[in-house]
Every structure is written in C-alpha cells, then in structure tokens.
C-alpha cells in the first residue's frame, strides 16, 4: 500500500500566508466578527478579463492551487479533489437575487453556470487541462477532510500517484447577515474577542482557500506524511477521548507519541468544551495549537489547520501566536488535528514527518 505525502502547499487566507515563511506577519484581529481575505496579486495567475467574471472563491482556488503546484515542483496531477461547505455562494446569491428582484426575467446564465459547487475544481481542471478524476465534497466542516480521505484512498489503492486537494469557501455580505441573524456569527457589541476565553455562542467568520499536492513519494519538498484521516458524524463530548485513543491505536500510537495537537477552537462557548476537555485532560502534557482566531471559522477552515500543521513539521517551530499552552517538545514529528462544528462532523487527521 502506497503512502501519502504532502509535497506542496498553497494558502490564501485572512492572514498573509503567501510570500511569507510562517505567520511572521500574522495579526490577531479581536475586533471584527467577519474577517476579510488578504488578497494575492490575481493578475499573475488569471488574466484581468477572466478575473472580472470569476467569483473570489474561484480566483483564490486557482491561486492557492498554483502555489501548491509550484511549491511541490509538480507539473501535472492525476486528480483534483475539492471540499467546500457553501460552494460558490457569491454567484449563487447573485443569480438568486436577480431571479427575485426581476421576477424571473432578464436573467443571464453566467452566475448560474458558475454557481455549482464544483466550479473551482472544474476551473482548475480546465486551466491545467487535467482530464482525470474530479470530485467536490460539500458536507459542512468535513468537506475538506472528505476530499483528503478520498485522495488518500486513491493513492493507497494506486488509482493515482499525484492529487491536488483543496478546501475553498467564500463569504458574501448577504450570507453573513443571515448568519448574524441566526446567531451563528458573534455579536459586534461583544468585542474584544478572545477565542480561548469566550463565554458567548457563535463564532467569528472567515474565508479562504488552501491547497495541497499529495503524492505517493517522498521528495525534497515533502512536508509530512498523512498517516490517517477519520470522519465521524456525531459524537457526544464524553465519547471523543475514546475515539481519539482508538484512532491512534489503529495507527500504533498513543497520546504520548503526539508531539502537538491542533484543536479547532472557534470561540463558541457552547461547543468549545469538546476541545477544552481534551486540552485539560487528555492532552495536558502535549503542545496544543489553535488557528481559527487567525483564519476565522468556516466550513473549510480545517484546511488552514492542515496548512499550519504541515508548516510546523517542516519548520520544526511553533509560532507563539498559535500556542494554546506552553508545553514544548524537542521535535515536532507527529501531529494530530481534531475539528468539529456544533458537536457534529468530527474529523481526526494524523500527520508524521
């Protein structure tokens, strides 16, 4: 069975995560309830004419995937697999608004044809002329992990030797206004926010695109090996530790083997207890990392988490801004990521050097 290596990464986020080493310019914004993206120079990747027609998610996906390809020095991949919680919501909102505001008349198809969830994967395939396998997963906060799981399965079963995997989500003002109304996004009045100490419900929202080139061979650019990915739809708080232990056991590991754990803390007091229990007990002696205070919460924020974990293994350093505790290890070779949203869609991802 072939092994799966992360050989290239590309990340566009609400931080400057391109043209930088590793979060040295990161800023912890504690004022805003919705973070905006730090935009790359799109024109280096997409012609201005094409760029005008493209939604930001598509553009960010194209740039992040190009960065990952360049990083891994890979020219072609066998498959493209993406995850996106909300899909191309900018075009979808635009088309729907036109339908409603114009009583179903005077519509043009552009935003409709770009509104399908697989637009990013399709546009990348079109640009790269990649005629291989092309899947898009849309299942809340396991959208990206579903893509990762699929890619790993393909490499293990030798159906593909190199795969581009990404997580993409974009925000729109309208969706954010709905999320505020529903209480999914925190109240503006409650600033300053401190993700680790919040007592209110809701989250600070973000957006982004993170891509990874996965290959079946270790090479110079290799960041880490993906040992395992597991998705579980529903778990009670008191079941998480048992699941983690079982997950580690199937990989012949135990808690003490974990050099760092990346937890999906998002500041929702109602559900962060899933992480707090682990942080206080199970992983009390393990370096703990968090990232959603930098990326914001969104369906594929965990892809930003994987970017963080990959960088830690590569640089063997943990920037202070992502540390939950002060525990240190001499080396960061084995990292576990755990994420969930509102007690649903749990995922465990295991990396090793």
């Amino acid at each position: 069975m072939k092994k799966t290596y992360i050989n290239g990464v590309g990340c566009i986020s609400t931080q400057k995560t391109f043209d930088t080493v590793f979060l040295e310019e990161a800023v912890y914004n504690q004022k805003d309830t919705v973070f905006t993206l730090v935009k790359p120079e799109y024109k280096e990747y997409v012609s201005p004419a094409a760029s005008r027609r493209m939604a930001k998610g598509v553009k960010n996906g194209i740039v992040a995937s190009a960065l990952a390809m360049k990083d891994s020095n890979t020219e072609k991949v066998d498959a493209i697999i993406t995850g996106t919680g909300m899909g191309c919501i900018e075009d979808s909102d635009r088309f729907l608004k036109n339908i409603l505001d114009n009583n179903e008349e005077f519509l043009t198809p552009t935003s409709f044809i770009q509104s399908t969830h697989n637009t990013v994967g399709a546009q990348i395939a079109l640009l790269m002329q990649c005629k291989g396998y092309n899947f898009t997963y849309v299942n809340g906060v396991v959208s990206f992990e579903s893509a990762l799981l699929d890619a790993k399965l393909q490499i293990e079963e030798e159906e593909a030797s190199s795969i581009l995997v990404g997580g993409i989500d974009e925000n729109t003002d309208y969706t954010m206004s709905l999320y505020k109304l529903a209480g999914f996004v925190k109240n503006d009045q409650e600033t300053p926010f401190d993700v680790l100490k919040e007592t209110s419900t809701g989250v600070v929202y973000g957006e982004g695109a993170s891509f990874f080139v996965l290959e079946n061979e270790r090479k110079e650019s290799t960041y880490a090996q993906i040992l395992d990915v597991e998705i579980i739809n529903s778990l009670e708080e008191n079941e998480v530790e048992t699941e983690i232990l079982a997950f580690l056991k199937t990989n012949n590991l135990q808690i003490s083997d974990i050099d760092a754990v990346v937890l999906g803390f998002n500041g929702d007091a109602h559900f962060d207890s899933y992480y707090k229990n682990l942080a206080r007990n199970t992983f009390a002696q393990t370096p703990q990392l968090y990232y959603k205070h930098l990326s914001g919460e969104f369906n594929t924020a965990s892809a930003f988490g994987l970017w963080i974990a990959s960088k830690v293994i590569q640089t063997q350093e943990i920037p202070n801004i992502i540390k939950v505790n002060s525990v240190e290890k001499p080396a960061y070779n084995t990292i576990l990521l755990y994420n969930q949203y509102k007690g649903k869609n749990h995922s465990f991802t295991l990396l090793s050097k």
């Binding site: 009583n103 179903e104 899947f135 998705i231």
Partner: protein, 400 residues
C-alpha cells in the same frame, strides 16, 4: 476480474412513483410523469413541463412524522424518504452494527427554502430556523439523524453526475475495506433557481424531452431522490443477504473543455466509460443495455453519442435508452434513480423504451430502443455528466 460490490437495498421517490415498485410499474407501462408545475410558483409555469413529485412539503413531512416546526428543505424531505426505504429494503435493523457510512449527493440543497424566504428572514423570526438548511451538507445530516447513523457522513456535489460519484465513492470504500456498509445516492428538489438557470441557458424544452432525436429541443427538469445500500461480501455472507445486483465498474473523468458545454468528441465521457471498463474487467461487447445520460439537449446527446461510438468503434452498440422522458432530468439525483432502474433492468430483464423518439440524429447512425424489450441482461452501463465537465460512468452486473 472482481465481481463488484453488492447492492442489497434500494429506495426511490420520483415523479413516476413513490417506491421502487411504483417506479418500475411506470417504466413497464410507459407512464411518464412530465406535467405542469404545481408546487413552485414561477412565471414560467405555462411554458415549461417538469417531472414533479405531486406532494407538498407539508405532505412529505407528515409522511416522515416530522414535527410542525421542522426545518427540512424539499431536497431533505425526499432524500430522507428514499434513504429510509433503502435501509428497510436491505433489512437493516441496527444501523450502527457494522462500520456504516452515508454518502449523499445534491446540487441545490435547501435552495427551495432559501428562494422562498430570501427577504422574509429579516421580518419573521419563525423563519430563522430555516437558515441552516441551505447548505448541501444539511441534507445528509438530516438523513443520518433520521437513520440514527453515527459514522462517516459526507456529500458530493458535482452537478448532474453527483449521485454517480456518491455510488462510486461508496463502492471504493467497501472494496478497500474502509467500510462494511454504505448508503449511497442523491436527492434534488425542484427549485426556481434551477428552473431559471436552465431557462437562461436555453436548454429547457417547452414540450416533452426527446433524447437522441434529431429534433430534440432540450430537457425537462425533474425532482427525485434515490438511495442504494452497498454491503461488503462479509456482511452479505454473515447475514445471508439477498444481493440485488453488483456495482462492477466505475469511472470519473473531466472533459476539461468548458464549464457547461461538452466537448464535440465527448472526451470526458469517453474516458469515464473507458475507466469503468478497466475497473470492471468487462469488454464493451458484454454490456447488454446502456442507460444513457440522454438529457435531450442538442449538445449532450451529440457528445455522448460520439463518445459511445468511440468506445464501440466497429462493434455493434448495445440497446440503449434514456429514461429522462419519464422522470425529467433530476440533476444530482439522476444517477441514483437511474442506478435503481439499471438494477431493475438486470433483475427483470427489461430494456426501457426511449420515449418521444421519432427520427435519428443526422450526425451519426444511433437509434435508441423505443419499445419495451425483454431479454436477459447481465451488465448495464449508466452514464451521467455534469457541469464543470464532470463525467461519470457506472456499470451494474447481475449477481452470479
């Protein structure tokens, strides 16, 4: 040659029936259900015809015994009905007894709700509960909850090939030993969003869709949900399960040509079929029936026909037909309902008629089967293609 992954249960709801039996009856008796739209108010109501399930959301919710304050979209309602049927049909009583997953597919998700309440959310606090049902994953969440399924749940959204891809992933997860059992399929309710989308693309027929006809004028949209239960051979043996048929081949490829149009020679479609033959170990000549994607748009049928001819070269193309004149094009559910029809074709030895066909296309010599035909069917090939150049092929085989 591997014998493929066992299918042990099926469930379906479409415009031609609320169960597997009803759907099969309609297919056998040439009873299509393409009608004027009733459940959605649209200015196009007098122009278009659709494959609509003639039940309101309220009626569907009652069938599921949901509380009045539920927040199910139409897609979730019909999806849950079909998935429950499939699980029951497979004789599953303890859903988490084995490593069990759910892989759903949808393209519109909760769009029917979003478009109805878009501006009202801010006026009526009662509606706020619906906000979370917009996103695609919500549908699978609800199905999993209704089934009591706790394991892996995910959703694929690759436009009109979505359900083929969910069946494909399910088969791969069983084959690799990652899961013992998986419920796979797709669901899409009709929405003003898709009606207007296809309308602006000018590929909606104002009459009845005529796949592979020279004078085809486009598609009729439809709504449906279907789910299948796939189980490992170990589970089948242990529980002495009846195997309805097997998923023996699958392939997905990208046309990499245009966001919505298919390439002239059907590269993506050709590659998807080729991969499915490789996986199954079958030769094209061993296929007894092709359930074509056959949407009846000028572009699809030409591209698909050319791809089929490329696969068969000098060999005779087997009997083929599109079942979309019966149901309309049900988007992300299409490959799932057509998987059910493919299994039924194998079980009962029937090739369904390609309704509304009159004259062959002038570009090539391909004539679909236009009347019901009874014959032994060992292998069925089913195609589904979607926006973004997404092309998928599944091969279903008789359980030997």
């Amino acid at each position: 040659m591997s014998k493929g992954v066992a299918i042990t249960g099926m469930g379906i709801i479409s415009s031609i029936g609320n169960s597997v039996e009803e759907n099969f009856y309609s297919l056998l008796h040439e009873k299509p259900a393409i009608t004027r739209i009733e459940n959605i108010s649209t200015v196009h109501a007098d122009v278009i015809k659709v494959g609509e399930i003639k039940k309101t959301n309220e009626e569907l919710a009652n069938e599921l015994h949901l509380p009045a304050d539920n927040n199910y979209s139409r897609t979730a309602l019909i999806g849950t009905l079909a998935a429950k049927q499939a699980v029951e049909n497979a004789g599953i009583t303890s859903i988490n007894e084995f490593r069990t997953g759910l892989i759903s597919a949808t393209s519109v998700g909760g769009m029917d709700i979003t478009e109805k309440y878009y501006y009202d959310y801010f006026k009526d606090p009662e509606l706020v509960r619906y906000i979370s049902c917009h996103d695609g994953g919500d549908v699978a969440e609800k199905i999993a909850e209704e089934l009591g399924l706790k394991g892996i749940v995910t959703t694929i959204s690759t436009a009109c090939s979505s359900a083929a891809n969910s069946i494909m992933l399910g088969a791969r997860l069983i084959k690799s030993g990652k899961l013992d059992r998986v419920i796979v399929g797709g669901t899409d309710g009709l929405a003003k969003f898709t009606i207007n989308g296809f309308k602006t693309l000018m590929i909606l027929s104002d009459g009845y869709n005529k796949p592979f006809d020279n004078d085809r004028k486009g598609l009729n949209l439809g709504e449906a949900a279907a789910f299948l239960v796939l189980e490992s051979d170990e589970v089948v043996k242990k529980q002495n399960k009846k195997v309805l048929a097997r998923v023996s081949g699958y392939g997905n490829a990208n046309d990499a040509f245009h966001q919505t149009a298919s390439s002239e020679n059907g590269d993506g479609a050709y590659l998807a079929m080729k991969k499915a033959f490789e996986v199954s170990g079958l030769q094209p000549s061993e296929i007894d029936y092709i359930n074509v994607h056959g949407t009846a748009t000028p572009n699809n049928d030409l591209s698909e026909g050319r791809a089929i001819l490329r696969i068969y070269q000098d060999e005779k193309v087997p009997d083929f037909s599109s079942t979309k004149p019966f149901t309309g094009h049900t988007l992300a559910a299409a490959a799932a309902i057509e998987a059910v029809y493919s299994v039924l074709a194998i079980q009962h030895g029937t090739v369904y008629p390609n309704l509304n066909f009159e004259s062959p296309m002038e570009e090539f010599n391909l004539t679909p089967q236009t009347t019901l035909k009874n014959k032994n069917i060992e292998h069925v090939l089913s195609n589904s293609f979607g926006f973004g150049g997404n092309c998928s092929t599944l091969i279903f085989s008789k359980n030997e």
